[in-house]
Structure formats: C-alpha cells, structure tokens
Amino acid sequence: MHTEATPAPAEKSDADLVQQCQAGDTAAFDQLVGRYRTRVFGMIYNMVHSEQDAWDLAQDSFLKAWKSIGRFRGQSSFYTWVYRIVMNVTIDWLRKKQVKGSGAEFDDAIQLKEIEPASRTAPKADALPHERMQDQEIRARIDAAIAQLSPEHRAVILMKEIDDMQYHEIAETLECSIGTVMSRLFYARKKLQNLLRDVYENI
C-alpha cells in the first residue's frame, strides 16, 4: 500500500501540508484532498457500489478529516489516518443501510470507460461489444458477491486484494487486532470462492 503520495520536487510533503491544515489553511487541505480523492472515492465505491453514495461518503469523510485534523499527531501516515475515517464512515453507513433493509445495492452498472486510464485493470480500448458486455456481466457478478459480505468483511477483502494493504495496516485502519483481520479475510475469501468459483474457473 502506498501510504503517502510522492510529491513532485516543488510540492510539499503530506506532513508539511498537515501542519498547515492544523494552522487553519484550507488551501493546504485542498491539496491533500487532491492527492487522495481518487483512491478514497474508488475504495468507497467498491464498498457501496453507488457513485452518488460514494461521492457523499467521500465528502463526509474528508469533512470529518478536516474537523479532526487538529488531533492528528502524525503517528501514522496521513493517508492511513484518512483511510481509517473513510472506513468508519463507510462501514457505519452500510450498517445503517442494512438495518433500514434497503434492497437495492447497485444503482448503476460499471461503465468500463470510466475506469482510470492508469488503472492496471483498464480494458483495451478496442474491446469488442460482446467482450465489453461479458466484462460488465463479470463485474456485476463480483459486485453482487461482495455485496453479500458484511461491511467489515467487505472492507478487509478489498483492502487486502485491491489496495494491497498488509494485515497490520488493515488492523490499524479498522482498529481491530491482526487476528481479527485474518479471520475476517478467511471467511470473506471462502464466501467469495463459493459465489464466484464458476467465474474464475471459466475465464
């Protein structure tokens, strides 16, 4: 996991920007948001499968980060700290949504053209229509399977498999033990293996 964006020579480090934020500099916070908004939004989207909800939750998360940045002591990287806030906000939202019993988990099918050009998963631009359709179906299957996981299991498997985070980083983010992380990962993988076996065995 990249815990800090590498600043260009003229750019300030996260730590410097955090100090400025703590002095009330909103422009510095704007720079930090610019560095991490895509990753934050992407992770939230993978958790909630709704662009609008992901947008709102990312706004909430960054707003909370701004409000509490005075208490950030730099014991972890800024991104890890923000990630913790993001996960708390998102998991809380998912729990409330589950309690309300809202059935519709998906509000929009993934638009492959919207995947970042730099993404390692970016499809070929010249994919044929039937290939694109197949990709969309596979993605929909994966989203549906992930949606069957609890918010905590969802968070763990996405952080491990997509964000390539280490167990201790996940534990720090979710404020639980490494053992809990590994246990959740075990059950999340088992469940996804059952739900997606035919997908990964046939591609």
Partner: protein
C-alpha cells in the same frame, strides 16, 4: 508470527506468511494436503479475479468535488465562528455562575434567616418587656434601678423583676 486459530494459520499459509517450523506444523495439521493446495490455488484465482476486474473507479468532476468540499468547510467555519464565544459564555454560565449563584443564595439565606430569627425572637416578647429591655438607665441619674428577667421557655413564662421603679422615667411604665 504467533498463530492462534486455524483461520489465521490458513490465511498466513495462503498468503505465504508461514515459514520454517510454523509451516511444517501447519502442513502436518492438515488432513489432506492436496485438497488444501487446491483451495490455496482457488484463493489465488479469486485474488487475481478481484484485482483484474475491480478497477479504481475514477471520480468524475474531481475539481467540483473539491470545490464542494471547501464550500462545506467554509460554511461550517462560518457557522462555528461564534461558537467559541458562545462556548466561553456557556462555560461561565455553567461553572462561574453556578458558584456565584450558590454563594449569593447562601448569603441571602443567612441574612433572611438572621432577620426571621430576630423577628421571631423580638415578636415573641411582649411590647412591655421589649420596652424594659431596650430602656437604658443611666446609673448616674438612677443608681438604684435594676432589672432582672427570669424566663421559663417550657412554661412560656417570663418574669421581669424591676427594682427602683420609682427612679425609672415615667415613659418606661407599661401601657
């Protein structure tokens, strides 16, 4: 890494985190190593599928996202600016005023109690007794005058014994 449960050991094994003695112990604990190896391969395939198919969702209108966020921060700051003053005042009201109100109430209670008790005491006497007690007899003018009071609260009786009545001014007499 110290493993406690089977799940933790399994995950560490799949992710290549087990080695040496731990790895040997874990493998020995598996009932069927070939089945376990198959499941391990499945976990790899699942991981690859997720990594390949779940992309990083690009944020459309990222600039607008930041603009909206800054606006919200400014709005919150504007609404929160009078807060410190309010908070200070609230804290004075809640702590300072509590102390002052308490002290003032105590003082008022003391004064009130004093006057009420005094009133009660004074009110309990007869007008004549009050007149006698309040009277000042100048020993130079009336050297033989003296007054003694005997009071029995149980029987609610007060006896005023006056000697040298003839030397008291006439206005001291009972009405």
């Amino acid at each position: 890494m110290f493993m406690k449960t089977f799940e933790e050991s399994w995950i560490a094994w799949v992710d290549g985190e087990l080695s040496g003695e731990e790895l040997a112990e874990f493998k020995a604990s598996l009932p069927d190593i070939s089945v376990a190896e198959m499941e391990k391969q499945e976990a790899f395939k699942l991981g690859n599928l997720l990594r390949e198919r779940i992309g990083v969702r690009a944020m459309a209108n990222g600039e607008f996202f930041q603009h909206q966020l800054l606006q919200e921060i400014e709005r919150e700051a504007a609404s929160a600016s009078p807060r410190p003053e309010t908070k200070a005042r609230e804290s004075w009201w809640s702590i300072g005023r509590l102390v002052w109100t308490g002290a003032a109430s105590l003082a008022l209670l003391s004064v009130f109690t004093f006057f009420v008790m005094r009133e009660k005491t004074v009110g309990g006497r007869s007008a004549y007794l009050t007149q006698i007690i309040d009277a000042r007899v100048d020993p130079a003018v009336s050297p033989n005058a003296n007054i003694s009071i005997f009071e029995s609260k149980e029987n609610k009786v007060t006896v005023v014994w006056v000697n040298g009545l003839q030397s008291l001014p006439s206005e001291y007499a009972a009405k």
